[in-house]
């Protein structure tokens, strides 16, 4: 078990290293191949009004003429211990974890990311709890009443849920419930949890439901399929032959096995979601990581995009790690191999 954990930890670190190298290559190396020069990048920092000499000087100070490996090393070092940046207006120390400064706002990237994180975390936490509970319950009931009106209705709604993107369902929900009936908060109204928990929940309920609808639908279908599979297993027949009550057969023997793949996917989904629920955040104008990323991409703000990418990758890798460890807890057969 200990070696299993150590192996997974090493794997996770290796994965983060690879992601950082790939990210760096995509944003720094590939543009060079396409003809973007170090001076072009420096130009993004100093602005359009700068003279050619200033641009070259800044590029030199930022080390943009150094070999790629040196630049990558400097970038990684900045993440761990911080780095000095000089845009021609004096040296500034960017404390760790440093992902550089935004081209647009000239602000360091990391504090911005941390500002946005609570919004995305709030969105992900609420939505994932709702979709897990609703999705699994509907899936189990559907499986047990296969072919019933409940099952058919639930599966049609689930199909709709999987097919409809949040920018559609979100906007429809907003226009009806918020702007039409006025029972939910309008878009963009986020209140931090620490200020007022009730207002926090009220401001997020619609985004939660929108996001949960999408995923609950997928989970309902998954759970249903998993339950149908499991309930046909021999060990379910054994459980019944022992004289167990049907409730226990389903809840203890059936669900336990059917939930294992769900746990895996849930961990990954939450990890991905913490890296930014791009569509939902945009539909509700929530200033989370997803919205941050879309804004950064639209402005071609490289340091922001790279910072966001690394943070999102970090959450996904951590989620993967947790899922792997959880898997060993849930399924004893994993512990040995």
């Amino acid at each position: 078990m200990v070696t299993y954990i150590i192996r997974r930890l090493i794997g996770a670190l290796a994965m983060l290293f690879i992601v950082s190298a790939v990210t760096f290559s995509i944003f720094f190396v590939v543009p060079r191949l396409a003809g973007v020069t170090a001076d072009d990048i420096a130009n993004r920092y100093v602005g359009r009004a700068a003279t050619a000499e200033t641009v070259v000087a800044v590029a030199e100070k930022l080390g943009l003429h150094d070999p790629v490996v040196v630049q990558y090393g400097r970038w990684v070092k900045g993440i761990f211990v911080g780095a000095d940046y000089d845009y021609g207006s004096g040296v500034e120390f960017c404390p760790a974890p440093c992902f550089g400064y935004s081209f647009v706002t000239k602000q360091p990237v990391w504090p911005d990311l941390m500002d946005r994180l609570p919004v995305t975390l709030s969105l992900a936490a609420g939505a994932s709890i709702i979709w897990l509970i609703v999705g699994v319950s509907v899936g189990v009931l559907s499986a047990l009443r296969r072919g019933s009106i409940f099952d058919r209705g639930a599966m049609i709604i689930a199909l709709a849920g999987v097919s409809l993107p949040p920018f559609f369902t979100g906007l429809v929900a907003l226009s009806i419930l918020s702007y039409g009936l006025g029972i939910t908060a309008p878009g963009g109204a986020y209140v931090p949890l620490s200020e007022d928990p009730v207002q926090w929940a009220y401001s997020l309920i619609l985004p939660w439901l929108t996001l949960a609808f999408l995923n609950a639908a997928a989970y309902a279908r998954l759970t249903r399929a998993g339950m149908l599979d499991t309930m046909g297993e021999d060990y379910i027949r054994t459980a019944r032959a022992k004289g167990l009550k049907e409730r226990v057969v389903i809840g203890k023997h059936g669900l336990r096995a059917a939930l294992t793949p769900i746990v895996t996917i849930f961990g990954l989904d939450v990890g991905i979601l913490i890296g930014g629920a791009i569509l939902t955040e945009n539909a509700f104008s929530l200033q989370g990581l997803g919205k941050y990323a879309t804004t950064a991409i639209a402005a071609q703000d490289l340091p922001k995009i790279m910072g966001f990418t690394m943070l999102a990758a970090f959450f996904i890798v951590v989620a993967n790690l947790i899922v792997d460890l959880l898997y060993a807890v849930v399924d004893p057969r994993v512990r040995l191999s």
Partner: protein, 340 residues
């Protein structure tokens, strides 16, 4: 009073393709301490019968009629909840493949403890001690340590032993073993059969062994019931079935059995064709399309279902051939080939 009695049990499954008559009018008696072997090919209805006795078809799509009397209680008409309370306690079952029949996520001990505690209000600690006792009794070495193992950590034979321990944990009076040795190595098969014989003697339970392997029933059974197409086609004491079988299908089963004491040059005598579809059961005698002796009764087998009639001392046969014809065929045509 007979301990277990089936009267005209029918278990039919409606499907999109038609009614599947898995069990179609089965009757037999079984006393405590006795062993009945139910023999037949895949799809002959043997497993459906056993699940039907345990009431595991209740609440499903199956249409069940007839009577199952267990120790003075009729089970087909009893409430599912009542039958559930008997399952595992009064009657229990051993399944074919012990790996898939045990839950992979729970330890062997937990599964035995669970079976015990459903029917006995005892603490987990007492139940665990009982589980260790049971594991020791079925011959698992170091049961106090192995009780915390998972099924995948056991070998096939050990798993089947654990399965048997689980089935016996509440002292059942009726034990049904559905192909208990099919998934095991030949050397382990003999050990498991020995174990079951010993345990049955200790527990004085009624035992039903379901198998396609005549060798297994020869080891254990007092009586043998041969099933074909959901019906009993021959029933009798084990000696009668092996010494004086009267149904052409039983002859076929005996002829299909590889035997070490026979000359290697001698070919097996397999039954031609495949088991009947239970949706479109052949008209008349279900076995007639595969029966080598069908022409000898003037085509009756194609239209008329033969009755199950007693030929002698509790030996029942369902065949259109007359008793004399059957005995004659057995003595002159079949037996010499089997013994050559």
């Amino acid at each position: 009073m007979t301990f277990l009695q089936l009267k005209d049990l029918k278990i039919h499954f409606p499907t999109d393709d038609g009614l599947v008559k898995s069990v179609d009018g089965l009757s037999f008696d079984l006393e405590r301490g006795k062993t009945l072997g139910i023999v037949g090919e895949s799809g002959s209805g043997k497993s459906v019968t056993s699940l039907g006795i345990l009431g595991l078809h209740k609440g499903g799509r199956a249409k069940i009629s007839g009577e199952v009397w267990l120790d003075g209680e009729e089970l087909v008409s009893a409430s599912p909840e009542h039958v559930r309370s008997l399952r595992g306690k009064k009657m229990s079952m051993i399944f074919q493949d012990p790996l898939s029949a045990m839950h992979p996520y729970y330890t062997v001990g937990d599964q035995i403890i669970e079976a015990y505690r459903i029917h006995n209000k005892v603490s987990k600690k007492v139940a665990k001690k009982h589980a260790i006792d049971m594991l020791g009794r079925v011959g698992i070495p170091q049961p106090d340590r192995r009780v915390d193992s998972y099924p995948h950590e056991f070998s096939g034979g050990m798993r089947q032993r654990a399965m048997i321990a689980m089935s016996l944990s509440c002292d059942p009076e009726l034990l049904i073993a559905d192909e208990p040795t099919t998934a095991l190595d030949v050397t382990v098969q003999a050990q498991i059969l020995d174990l079951m014989r010993d345990l049955q003697r200790d527990f004085n339970a009624a035992l039903i062994i379901i198998t396609h392997d005549l060798g297994v029933v020869a080891e254990l059974s007092d009586d043998i019931l041969v099933m074909y197409g959901g019906k009993c086609i021959e029933y009798g004491a084990a000696d009668d079935i092996f010494e004086r079988p009267e149904h052409p299908y039983t002859w076929g089963l005996l002829g299909s059995m590889p035997r070490l004491d026979r000359e290697v040059t001698e070919r097996l005598l397999p039954i031609k064709g495949t088991p009947p579809s239970l949706i479109n059961v052949p008209s008349g005698c279900a076995f007639h399309p595969r029966c080598a002796f069908e022409p000898r009764n003037g085509g009756k087998g194609r239209t008329l279902v033969p009755d199950l009639v007693e030929t002698e001392g509790g030996h029942l046969v369902r065949c259109h051939l007359s008793r004399e014809e059957r005995r004659d065929i057995w003595a002159t045509e079949i037996k010499p080939k089997l013994e050559s």
